[in-house]
Amino acid sequence: MEATKKSKAKKLDSVSAQAIQLAYREYLLTEGKQPASVFKFCKENRMTEVEFYAHFASFEAIEKAIWQGYLADTKKRLESDEAFVQFSSREKILTFYFSLAELLKTDRSFVLHQLKSVKNPASTPVFLKGFKASFEEWINSVLNEGKGTGEIAKRPYLDDRYSRLFWTHLMFILKFWAKDESPNFEKTDVAIEKSVTLAFDLIGKGVLDSALDFGKFLYQNSKN
């Protein structure tokens, strides 16, 4: 952080990726829209287009990088806690969401601006693409651990889709948080706690497995 501030004060003579992100974020939030062109943006921030393109191909690429940064920072935060390794999958996922919520709080205006621009809630917006890929990779490793310990039920074909389920879940939490007006976003904490409990009730061994088992039995018998 400090480094970027300093470099900005020195009128960005050696332009870093972080400085470009910061300048872009500031423009977006004060003007309420993307800069008209990379040319205009570079001119206003006294850098050359070469310097810009050395780091990013477009404004969308900057947004993507900011979101991926959130994820990387969250993961770094989790790894800094020694106790984290011993957590169950459920606790790991809870900690992830709580940490992410905490991190996003520091950048709430930008996140809200981004989420507001989402027109079609069914498809993944461009700025979230890299974020999504890294999230799914992370969640898959946690889920696989859970399957190893028996915390999560093994369900052929179905359990491959869990990562997508959790992605939808994460989107729900983001939207909840965006609308949350409680002090300190306390209600988001409650939403996280309760929804993760529900999710683990669903993916743990339980009713669903018995239902699947029974369904399979009926299906096999209907063929005879």
């Binding site: 806690d81 106790a83 606790e91 809870l94 905490e102 909840f176 609308k179 409650v190 409990t197």
Partner: protein, 443 residues
């Protein structure tokens, strides 16, 4: 345009989910209680001998089941109702008595999250050790055990959002409470407003910290009492840190161990003195005499651990209420009547018949509940005495006149004082203690 609207609707749906879920929970409970009544009357047609015990049992377990799935205020209501157990059929008591110890625990990550919010540090960065799972549940939170520099500490953490849900929970509990406990609507509103105020206070751990420190210092000279030290540096709106008192809670202790007569009397006396010192000297009191809020230490002393619920006795209410304990009040009709007007047991515009009826009823109540004060020493092991309170309560709850009265009989400030006395009498009864009751009586 269309997609935007859809998105909006979707989001709105997602937010009140918990509220809707809770509401449906209460509605289904209501329906089930209705069903229980039907079942009862159906059976009764066939077998007129049938008592209401089974019905009460069914109702109690259904209510308990739905309340125990809720946290915070609803759980607290279950607790409160269990406190007034002498005014409730026996079947309810046992079910509600369970309420204090069973609430689904907060996950450890959420505990960490709460710490980080208030102290910018994880619990294991503040304390030398910190248990990942809760050692005890409290009605609005849970207790973790920690150590710091060789000292064992109790760290109480509140469920997030408890304060918020108090109001909506109380509103939803209304239809059931009216039906279950035979309260009329005006009585209920007065009752609930007072309860709501106390509960919102209870959800504020900073206030609890202040009160705990204040009251425990002022009560420190009373014999055979133990108070934990509180740690403001490790406390916040949602976290409260105090010494871990070694021993068992009173409820647990009485289930597993026995006290000698001398020990029981000593603990009972300490409890009596604790309450009457607060009532008559401090004019504010720990209004939650619940077996989970007391610890019996190894030295067989009484540890006091929860000042979440404190009732301040207003200056004008104090003489109104405690004149009922004056020695000659039951012999002096004019005086008794005046007191009843002040306490709103009777009203100027009551009919002569109503007036006579209520004076009679409440005079009996005053006689019965004031009995321990009219002797120097009272044996709370007296089963006949508690049986008569219970029977009287049963009679009160069935009184048509009382239930159909459109007016609230009684003053709201009395709610927590009455509750405290009920709790205190019950605890002393459970302890089988004989107590010198004259020690703090002001008259």
């Amino acid at each position: 345009m269309k997609t935007q609207r859809m998105a909006k609707v979707k989001e709105q749906e997602s937010i009140p989910v918990t509220k809707v879920q809770r509401a449906t929970k209460f509605i289904t409970t209501g329906a089930r209680i209705g069903g229980n009544y039907l079942k009862h009357y159906g059976k009764k047609l066939v077998n007129p001998e049938l008592t209401k015990d089974q019905l009460h049992q069914d109702n109690a377990s259904d209510i308990y089941k739905s309340l125990s799935q809720l946290k915070g205020s609803a759980l607290k209501i279950a607790q409160m109702l269990s406190m007034d157990k002498n005014l409730l059929p026996t079947a309810y008591q046992n079910q509600f008595a369970l309420a204090q110890y069973s609430a689904p625990p907060l996950s450890y990550p959420l505990v960490v999250r709460t710490f980080e919010k208030y102290f910018k540090k994880r619990p294991n960065e503040i304390f030398d050790t910190f248990t990942q799972s809760a050692r005890n549940a409290a009605s609005m939170g849970q207790v973790h055990e920690a150590t710091l520099k060789g000292k064992k500490l109790a760290v109480k953490i509140q469920y997030p959002g408890v304060g918020d849900s108090v109001k909506s929970d109380l509103a939803m509990v209304k239809p059931i409470a009216l039906r279950m406990f035979n309260l009329n609507a005006s009585e209920y509103d007065e009752y609930i407003l007072e309860v709501q105020t106390r509960m919102l206070e209870e959800a504020d751990y900073s206030l609890e910290l202040e009160r705990s420190m204040n009251l425990s210092v002022r009560c420190k000279d009373i014999q055979n009492l133990v108070f934990p030290t509180y740690y403001p540096a490790f406390s916040s709106d949602k976290i409260l840190t105090m010494d871990w008192l070694e021993g068992k809670t009173l409820g647990e202790f009485l289930k597993t161990e026995t006290l000698s007569k001398v020990e029981a009397n000593r603990i009972g006396q300490a409890m009596w003195d604790f309450y009457h010192f607060q009532i008559h000297q401090l004019k504010e009191l720990h209004a939650d005499p619940h077996p989970g809020n007391f610890i019996i230490t190894k030295e067989k002393k009484l540890g006091i651990i929860d000042f979440g619920c404190v009732k301040v006795i207003p200056a004008d209410f104090y003489p109104q209420y405690f004149q009922l304990l004056e020695k000659d009040i039951l012999q002096d009709n004019a005086k008794l009547e005046k007191a009843f007007y002040e306490l709103r047991f009777i009203y100027e515009d009551d009919s002569a018949k109503d007036k006579k009826f209520f004076i009679e009823i409440f005079a009996q109540l005053v006689e019965l509940l004031g009995r321990p004060f009219r002797t120097k020493e009272f044996d709370f092991d007296d089963k006949a005495y508690f049986e008569s309170i219970y029977l009287f309560g049963e009679r009160l709850s069935k009184l048509k006149e009382l239930r159909e009265s459109k007016k609230a009989r009684g003053v709201k400030h009395a709610i927590y004082i009455n509750r405290t006395y009920f709790g205190l009498y019950n605890l002393l009864h459970d302890l089988k203690a004989k107590v010198n009751t004259a020690s703090w009586v002001p008259f």
